[in-house]
């Protein structure tokens, strides 16, 4: 199967980074698709936590919102939201946090708050939600975003969530206990932080993507890692599972809602 889209490849690549039995704090959109693809392929016992309070959920279709009924009905347990943030995330019980953002900088810091000045924004974005504490407390975080010079910027308009802050050991000194962003999955490949400077480098490429394309999509001088890995294309099994998931989801979301009389 050679016919796949970059969106599909992003989802497949993110799913491959997850392992069986890992405890994963999931965001809506591409991360949710990636986590469920992992569960439906190589990681059947992955524990998915959505911030609405569902733990160990196994949805048959992807939720549109973070609190769809499907998530509660298929969960091992449903707990109050304050419990999720205090007893699970803050207590260090989450292996992987998945984040998206409107902007990322070279040290993996994220903006999901405003474009332009905070008091007079040109674009008001939804805001922080759970991201700053996920970024601080998950043992590692994965970031998913489509790369272009407006999203991968030299300087954030607003720092919503901490990556490696100013680089080097700044994160360790900040009191953040989690390991920070270890993989940034873009629509051309994966960026990972340099071991010492903590600056994001190009570490792998999708089939058909080039170093030049990656550098053009990123608004800071993107350094390739000493060895840039070529990622294998999605397998037939991965594509079949992902497309079936999306098709079940489309059917479910277009079903008419009936209120009780």
């Amino acid at each position: 199967m050679s016919d796949w889209t970059r969106d599909e490849m992003m989802t497949v690549v993110a799913a491959r980074l997850l392992w069986n039995r890992c405890v994963c704090f999931v965001g809506i959109g591409l991360p949710s698709a990636a986590c469920n693809l992992a569960r439906l392929t190589h990681a059947p016992d992955i524990v998915l936590i959505y911030e609405s309070g569902t733990i160990g959920t196994r949805p048959d279709v992807l939720p549109l919102s973070i609190g769809d009924g499907e998530l509660a009905e298929t969960a091992a347990c449903v707990v109050p939201l304050p419990d999720i943030f205090s007893y699970y995330l803050q207590a260090g019980r989450v292996d992987v946090g998945f984040l998206g953002a409107a902007q990322i900088d070279r040290h993996g810091n994220l903006n999901s708050t405003v474009i332009g000045p905070y008091d007079a924004p040109t674009t008001r974005l939804p805001g922080a939600g759970g991201a700053p504490e996920i970024a601080a407390h998950a043992r590692q975080t994965f970031v998913m975003l489509k790369a272009n010079p407006r999203s991968c910027v030299p300087r954030l308009d607003f720092r919503t969530s901490a990556g490696f802050l100013d680089g080097g050991t700044a994160r360790e000194r900040s009191g953040a206990r989690g390991g920070g962003p270890c993989s940034v999955i873009t629509d051309f490949g994966i960026l990972t932080p340099h071991a010492e400077t903590r600056e994001l480098q190009l570490s792998s490429l999708f089939p058909g993507a080039t170093v030049g394309e990656a550098q053009a999509a990123v608004g800071w001088p993107l350094m390739p890692a000493p060895r840039v890995e070529a990622l294998p294309a999605p397998s037939a099994d991965e594509l079949v599972a992902l497309r079936a998931l999306h098709s079940r989801t489309r059917a479910a979301h277009s079903r008419a809602v009936h209120l009780p009389a």
Binding site: T54, G69, L165
Partner: protein, 281 residues
């Protein structure tokens, strides 16, 4: 326990200038109550909610609010709240002051409010610029270890409004499914109004499900379908297509106003609202 109509409950308990939390995390959003606040043209409200969604977009766009305490304001899975954005970006229909937090911070503030403590505490807001734009996010030092921790003032709404599945005739209220921070928002409030799908003679034994006992509840309103287009687990599903359609309805000021005039202002009550959408069974 009083069982007023929704109109009576809002008339009596929600005043201009009040701090009001219509809580809900995707599930059990009190849409009907929000619409009644709009019909009664309340002004200058300080709205509080972790995840302001469509009903807050409507309240803001109809000019009911002057301040918003929140942690994530979007149309879940769809995109922006255009009325919230218009208020923040262009002060339309009026300026909206923001008191912006993270989910973990707001959860801590509600927990403190429910416990009648002055502030909530968390290991949070690390490395975020929210601290620089919101002077209400501060820090405290642990008296035992010396660790610096984030502190946020307790949230104690004048009125919290929830939607729940059931109440009994004594006014005990039971919620099941995804319950967000509703328990904390309810117990933090000075006045607690609850709309319910059903009023039953007796609730089933509540073993660890959330029950708000009658003496913390100010009034219960029987309002079937009161969370639509959000959902009530066990009663009806979330109308995801309405959330998708809202993006186009709300994008433009005049489309928004005419939709609100036709379906909310033009309807006598929630039953009328549902009938106007052709959604009533």
């Amino acid at each position: 326990m009083p069982f007023p109509t929704l109109r009576e409950a809002i008339e009596r308990h929600v005043n201009d200038g009040a701090c009001v939390a219509l809580e809900g995390f995707t599930h059990l959003i009190p849409f009907a109550a929000g619409h009644e606040i709009i019909r009664q043209r309340r002004r200058d409200l300080h709205l509080v909610r972790m995840t302001p969604d469509l009903i807050y977009d409507q309240l803001i766009g109809m000019g009911c609010a002057s301040k918003l305490t929140f942690s994530w304001g979007g149309n879940p899975g769809v995109g922006s709240l255009h009325r919230l954005r218009d208020a923040v970006e262009h002060a339309w229909p009026g300026p909206l002051a923001l008191d912006e937090h993270t989910h973990a911070g707001m959860a801590a503030a509600y927990c403190a409010g429910a416990a009648r403590l002055p502030f909530g505490m968390l290991r949070g807001y690390i490395g975020t610029d929210l601290v620089t734009v919101n002077p209400r996010i501060r820090s405290v030092r642990c008296p035992f270890t010396g660790e610096q921790l984030a502190a946020v003032p307790a949230i104690n709404p004048d009125v919290t409004i929830l939607h729940a599945q059931r109440a009994d005739r004594a006014g005990n209220v039971a919620l099941t499914g995804i319950i967000g921070a509703q328990r904390e928002a309810a117990l933090a409030a000075r006045t607690l109004l609850v709309t319910v799908e059903e009023i039953v003679a007796a609730l089933p034994p509540a073993m660890n499900s959330i029950v708000l006992p009658h003496w913390v509840v100010t009034a219960v309103v029987h309002c079937p379908g009161g969370a639509y287009p959000a959902y009530a687990q066990g009663y009806y599903a979330r109308d995801n297509s309405f959330y998708q359609a809202w993006d186009a309805i709300s994008r433009d000021r005049s489309t928004f106003r005419s939709w609100m005039d036709r379906h909310v202002i033009g309807s006598r009550d929630h039953r009328g609202f549902l009938a106007s959408l052709g959604a009533a069974a």
